[in-house]
């Protein structure tokens, strides 16, 4: 295979990854790593570098498209960023000492977790009373406008959310993904942040967290232009097209199919990691 063919196939694959990632809300990174390692036998370290670039591409690409719709709570985002960026630094440091096979196995488990999270029935928790003095002190509570008027919401379990976000940061730094599924768990399930707010806020955080580890991986040589170029362009164009379709499409069926594919990829990653093929 020549570099031209490699670039073109990767471009198409990355486009599909970006499209599916934005339609299902799982981000581009979860497909990029299996695509590169299983499909092209690329060393997992290059795959991690490319996936980080893909995560930033999805985050900034979507943020520039969605800005009028969601309501980002910039204080929640920024406060939890302390946790995720600290975690990302720890993860990127750890990555130098963890064998590629173990990274592949860990990645497989995160994939399975992400698939489960994407199929979970979403229930909105809206806290209507103030229970957390810490949330008040940090000014995390907020409100958003609806057709029926302004809705105020309150945040709970700030320390629990903070710890989960640190773990999300470590995983993101170690595996080069946005760990969107863990962020959703922390924000929706633990802290009870309403969907309208958590989706865009989490998207904002994914970009910042990925940037924190990307600066380390760039210096380590994980980000190679020959791979980063088709991945970045493909994922960006895919994610932008996805956000245009998203408004009309019914994504439930797609989510189910995608979850099955991801679980299959997860087992493949775990198997290859355990047998030393990655």
């Amino acid at each position: 295979m020549s570099i031209l063919v490699f670039t073109l196939i990767l471009l198409v694959g990355a486009f599909a990854a970006g499209l599916l990632g934005s339609l299902t809300g799982l981000g581009g990174g979860v497909v990029v790593i299996p695509l590169l390692t299983l499909g092209f036998h690329v060393d997992i370290r290059y795959a991690i570098g490319a996936s980080l670039v893909a995560s930033i591409a999805t985050s900034s690409g979507a943020a520039s498209a969605y800005v009028k719709e969601g309501i980002t709570n910039i204080r929640i985002g920024m406060f939890l960023e302390i946790a995720t960026t600290t975690g990302a630094v720890i993860g990127a440091l750890l990555a130098a000492y963890v064998a590629p096979g173990i990274v592949a196995v860990l990645f497989g488990f995160v994939l399975i977790f992400s698939a489960i999270m994407s199929l979970r029935k979403k229930t909105e928790h809206l806290e209507l009373s103030d229970t957390s003095p810490l949330a008040q002190k940090l000014k995390l509570n907020g409100s958003y406008p609806t057709a029926e008027g302004k809705v105020s919401y309150y945040i709970r379990k700030v320390p629990g959310g903070y710890i989960l976000m640190t773990i999300a940061g470590v995983i993101s730094g170690l595996l080069g993904i946005g760990s969107g599924a863990l962020k959703v768990l922390a924000m929706d399930v633990v802290m009870h942040i309403p969907f309208k707010v958590s989706t865009t806020t989490s998207n904002f955080m994914i970009g910042v967290t990925a940037a924190a580890s990307a600066v380390v991986y760039l210096q380590r040589g994980y980000i190679d232009p020959g791979i980063a170029m088709p991945v970045m362009l493909g994922v960006l164009i895919g994610a932008m097209s996805g956000s245009k379709i998203l408004v009309k499409a019914n994504t439930h069926k797609l989510r189910q199919i995608f979850a099955v594919v991801i679980v299959f990829l997860a087992f493949e990653m775990i198997y290859n990691g355990l047998t030393g093929k990655i």
Binding site: H41, V42, Y222
Partner: protein, 129 residues
């Protein structure tokens, strides 16, 4: 234009969106230019990514990348596009710091600067080894 309700201000939200869009489009444009030069010279070569050697040393830091760009090196130009993409969320954090400063919310000015210093410290500490 900038009132106390800074972050509820539609204009500012739009400004952030515009900044992000500009950053992303800039990164894409530069990467495409780099890609064309890179493919023009290397299209027939063989991709060797199954063994990890790491990107060329000159492509791992900004001064090296910029030197490559002045020589119209395709790989360096692509890498510049990647660096601009990595910078977009960081610029967004910087804009937030200015926003909180205008709001006189000094606790959040501090928190935002803390996040920025973690990212920049990470970059300067040479943890990449």
């Amino acid at each position: 234009m900038l009132t106390k309700k800074y972050w509820q201000d539609k204009d500012v939200a739009l400004l952030v969106g515009k900044t992000l869009r500009t950053g992303v489009l800039c990164a894409m444009g530069i990467t495409i230019v780099g890609a064309l030069i890179y493919l023009f010279h290397n299209a027939g070569g063989k991709p060797e990514y199954h063994v990890f050697k790491g990107a060329d040393l000159s492509l791992r830091h900004l001064p090296g990348i910029l030197t490559g760009v002045t020589h119209f090196d395709g790989m360096a130009i692509i890498q510049l596009g990647v660096v601009i993409l990595i910078a977009t969320p960081v610029v967004r954090v910087m804009l937030s710091a200015i926003g909180f400063l205008i709001e006189k919310d000094y606790m959040y000015v501090f928190i935002t600067l803390l996040v920025l210093s973690i990212i920049i410290g990470n970059m300067l500490a040479g943890l990449g080894g």
